[in-house]
């Protein structure tokens, strides 16, 4: 207000009369007059204590005068532009030739509606009503009747400019207020929008939380400070089975297992007292069906603005299944541990060669403690020769997932070696797409190895012994062969020595005969000469000498003996030839390894010839030979069988010392399939206890040096094994023994030649 008091009060005078202009100037631009009355009035009007000032001057006005309406409009516009608007205009009604007063006012208000206007008129050109209808009922319009009083003008000017200023001040204040209101409104709107957004967000959040709270699988609840449920989430029935009504309003502790009530109480108390949340209490809660469910309880306080705990919110998580699963897992692990402990030594190796699992037996096998073994690489633990080589079985099993078995050995500090059979089995991930490790199973085979070694050693020794035995046996067989050959040779030699003896003797005798003949021949020569000479005396002398010599030299005996000498010598030679021929027939020395046609009867005869010397002093042989088909066989071997049987018979009879010859009967006959030879003696027979052993190798009843015990065993081999025949013995003690040799007529397949002798030996031994 005080500031505006200093603003110049601009007044525009519009009048076509110059004098009027001067009048206004005179009135409004006169020096100051006492304005006490005005000040008082002002104080009364504006309500504040008047501050009377004796020095106060009259209002000074900035007065402009124009003659025409248009000019006035121009001035108003200009003033507005200069921000020095006119506050009051005095407008003459009539201003020929230009606009009249009304028109001018209309135009001015159009530009500056705030301007206060006083119409100056000498006569009433327009009625008030007409003016009002033209200009509206405005409080800014006053009418001044001409001729006007100076004071009136001055007061008008003062009042109206004051009014303008006040109006202006009011307007400014209004604008200011409006501004404030507008700003405030804007602020409110912003806040409002924010609130709306927040509300929306909260609503969304709330929705979300509600959904969360209602849909989470855990029970979310709210407790009063007294511990009763004020809210439970709808999962309660699903988890614990109760209806909501059975829960709400009831205390939490009512649903808690007796043993867990204490901790639960403590928890709630702690929350209330400390105002902090508590977490993870494991307790059992009652299910409606009477079971107890394990839950994990967490709870937090709700506080009012004063920080007082007003409620408790909590969440209960059903851990029964987890607990069961956990228990199951523990049980499984415990089982696994037990199984592992009981199992053979094993370890589990992963793809990094780390030992992931091992059992007690593994540790004791390798002399390790569990601590030493865990967390090691397999090759640190089992430093086997194959480690770090392409032969590493673990690596191989992982690369080609197959079960692999190998032997490993390890020495302890005492140098004792442990040998194990390791079985490496790959194990896979869940879908069997990759090998994630190897289970290696060990079996201690040290003892077995040792046993194997011992067995091998024993075996080697046995084989050695066997070889030696075989050698010995073959030697014995060879000896037997040699013995029988020797025996045979002895017999044969005796048979031959005798004829050779007397033939040789005869030959020597023949020589002496010849010398005697030569002597006699000389005498006859001399006699012939004497006859030719006609010397009678000497003729008679020679005759006498011849006769004497003839008698002395037993010439007559010789002449008579010569024929006998030759025939006997010839017989001796024939006997030797015969023996040699028979010997060849018997042994078939020339082709003994081959199979050929054989007449059993002839074989028997040959054998008898050869054995004659062995037999003839002890037994008489009766032959009862039937016609037989020829068979294919090894004749030498078969003859040996007969020889063995016959010689045995002769020896048995001889052993009886009965003082007379025994009898051996040889019968042959043929069946459809076999040729059969029965050799029966009337010897001592074979005791029943011995009968079963007669074919055993080295079995003999003869005194030492008399037999090898192989004869019948070799015979059995020849007949049964080599010729697929039968050799049967039948004996009655004190009555005699019968051997029956049956040979298949079909014979045997041609021999394999050179291998036979060896085979013969082996078979003879092995029987």
């Amino acid at each position: 207000m005080h500031d505006e008091r200093d603003i110049a009060r601009r007044i525009l005078v519009v009048d076509d009369t110059e004098s009027i202009h001067n009048d206004f100037r005179a009135v409004l631009m006169e020096p100051c007059i006492d304005t006490t009355a005005l000040d008082t009035a002002e104080a009364a009007i504006f309500g504040h204590a008047a501050s009377p000032s004796k020095t106060r001057t009259r209002n000074r006005y900035d007065l402009d005068c124009v003659f025409q309406g248009k000019k006035a409009l121009k001035r108003v516009r200009q003033a507005l532009c200069e921000k020095r608007p006119y506050q009051l205009a005095f407008v003459d009604m009539r201003m020929p030739p230009g606009w009249d007063g009304l028109k001018t006012i209309e135009e001015i208000w159009r530009v500056d509606p705030d301007i206060q206007v006083v119409i100056c008129t000498a006569h009433s050109d327009y009625s008030w009503d007409a003016i009002v209808s033209r200009l509206g009922n405005s409080d800014k319009l006053l009418i001044l009747k001409k001729p006007f009083d100076n004071v009136e003008v001055e007061q008008l000017a003062g009042a109206l400019t004051k009014k303008w200023q006040l109006a202006r001040a009011v307007e400014a204040r209004l604008n200011e207020l409006e501004q404030v209101v507008s700003e405030r409104t804007q602020e409110l709107e912003t806040t409002n929008r924010q609130l709306t957004r927040e509300v929306t967000e909260r609503r969304t959040a709330e929705e979300r939380f509600r959904s969360f709270v209602e849909n989470v699988n855990d029970i979310i609840f709210c407790l009063s400070v007294e511990g009763g449920f004020t809210y439970v989430s709808p999962k309660w029935p699903a988890v614990l089975g109760h209806e909501m009504a059975e829960v709400l309003g009831h205390p939490l502790l009512r649903f808690v297992h007796q043993d867990d009530v204490g901790p639960c109480k403590q928890m709630l108390q702690a929350i209330t007292e400390t105002g902090r949340k508590e977490e993870g209490l494991e307790l059992r809660m009652l299910h409606r069906d009477g079971d107890w469910r394990w839950c994990t309880l967490s709870a937090a306080p709700l506080k009012d603005s004063a920080g007082e705990v007003t409620a408790i919110v909590g969440i209960a998580h059903d851990t029964t299944r987890r607990r069961q699963a956990n228990e199951e897992l523990q049980r499984t692990q415990q089982e696994l541990q037990q199984i592992l402990s009981a199992a053979t030594p094993l370890c589990v190796i992963d793809t990094n060669y780390d030992i992931r699992m091992l059992n007690d037996t593994f540790c004791s096998l390798f002399g390790l403690s569990l601590g030493e073994a865990t967390g090691k690489k397999c090759y640190e633990l089992m430093d086997f020769s194959k480690c770090h080589t392409p032969q590493c079985p673990i690596r191989n099993v992982m690369e080609a997932p197959r079960v692999c078995q190998y032997e490993v050995s390890r020495q302890n500090e005492n140098g004792e070696e442990t040998v194990c059979l390791a079985t490496a089995t790959p194990y896979f991930n869940m879908d069997y797409s990759a090998v994630i490790g190897v289970v290696v199973n060990f079996v201690d085979i040290t003892a077995r190895k040792q046993a194997e070694k011992e067995i091998a050693e024993a075996n080697r020794k046995l084989e050695q012994a066997n070889r030696e035995l075989k050698e010995m046996q073959s030697q014995v067989v060879q000896n037997e062969k040699l013995a029988s050959i020797g025996q045979l040779a002895a017999g044969v030699a005796h048979e031959m020595n005798t004829p050779v003896g007397f033939v040789a003797s005869n030959f020597q005798t023949l020589q002496s005969y010849m010398s005697k003949f030569l002597k006699l021949f000389e005498l006859y020569e001399s006699l012939t000469k004497a006859v030719e000479d006609g010397d009678r005396d000497s003729r008679l002398e020679y005759m006498h000498e011849i006769n004497q010599s003839r008698e002395k030299m037993k010439i007559d005996f010789i002449l008579g003996d010569l024929e006998e000498l030759f025939s006997e010598s010839k017989e001796g030679l024939e006997r030797v030839t015969d023996i040699i021929q028979n010997l060849r027939d018997f042994s078939r020395v020339d082709q003994s390894e081959d199979c050929h046609k054989y007449d059993l009867n002839e074989g028997i005869k040959t054998t008898l010839t050869v054995a004659r010397n062995e037999l003839k002093y002890d037994v008489d042989i009766d032959l009862e030979l039937s016609d037989l088909p020829q068979i294919a066989c090894h004749s030498g071997q078969i003859n040996q069988v007969f020889l063995n049987i016959l010689v045995n018979a002769a020896q048995a009879i001889k052993s009886q010392e009965r003082g007379e010859k025994g009898h051996v009967k040889i019968r042959t006959h043929a069946t459809e399939t076999h040729v059969v030879c029965e050799i029966t003696d009337d010897g001592p027979g074979i005791p029943e206890t011995v009968l079963s052993k007669v074919f055993d190798p080295f079995f003999t009843t003869k005194p030492p040096g008399k037999g090898t015990g192989l004869g019948l065993s070799v015979s059995y081999d020849i007949v049964v094994t080599k010729h697929k025949g039968e050799l049967i013995v039948d004996s009655q003690p004190e009555k005699g023994t019968t051997f029956i040799v049956k040979l298949p007529i079909q014979g045997i397949t041609p021999s394999k030649g050179k291998e036979l002798p060896n085979e013969e030996e082996n078979c003879a031994v092995c029987r």
Partner: protein, 147 residues
């Protein structure tokens, strides 16, 4: 003068005939027997100084004969003429012992060397006979034939 007599025993007649003819010029009586049994008879009937016998013979073997001779005619000097190249142990040991004891004068093997061995051996045996040593007589020229 006492005749000196040698008895030859062999179961093979051919041996005996060959000896008979081979020894026709020998200065002693020769007796021949084709079995032990006959030999025992001849020993009984004749004074025999030397006995030459085979070993393997039926009924009575050479050893049996030698035992009888040794028992009943201890003065008879025994010789063996055998074709057996090997002797069974029992026989062998008794023969070898006999030879060593002097109970058997010598062992002649068949085939024999008539002139080189047999004749000499028989003559040596006869020379060893105590009666022959005592009565140093001429050999008889007439052979005695016994069969």
């Amino acid at each position: 003068m006492k005749k000196r007599t040698v008895l030859f025993v062999d179961d093979d007649e051919r041996v005996l005939t060959s000896l008979r003819r081979g020894l026709i010029d020998e200065p002693y009586e020769r007796l021949f027997a084709n079995s032990g049994f006959r030999a025992v008879g001849l020993l009984l009937a004749h004074t025999v100084h030397v006995l030459v016998t085979d070993l393997r013979m039926p009924d009575m073997s050479g050893l049996e004969l030698l035992e009888i001779a040794a028992a009943d005619y201890p003065d008879v000097i025994p010789l063996i003429l055998s074709g057996q190249p090997t002797l069974e142990s029992a026989e062998a040991s008794s023969i070898v012992q006999g030879v060593h004891r002097g109970a058997i004068f010598t062992f002649l093997a068949k085939p024999w060397d008539l002139d080189g061995q047999l004749k000499k051996a028989v003559r040596q045996a006869l020379a060893c006979h105590k009666t022959c040593i005592q009565e140093d007589q001429e050999p008889s020229t007439a052979p005695a034939m016994h069969t």
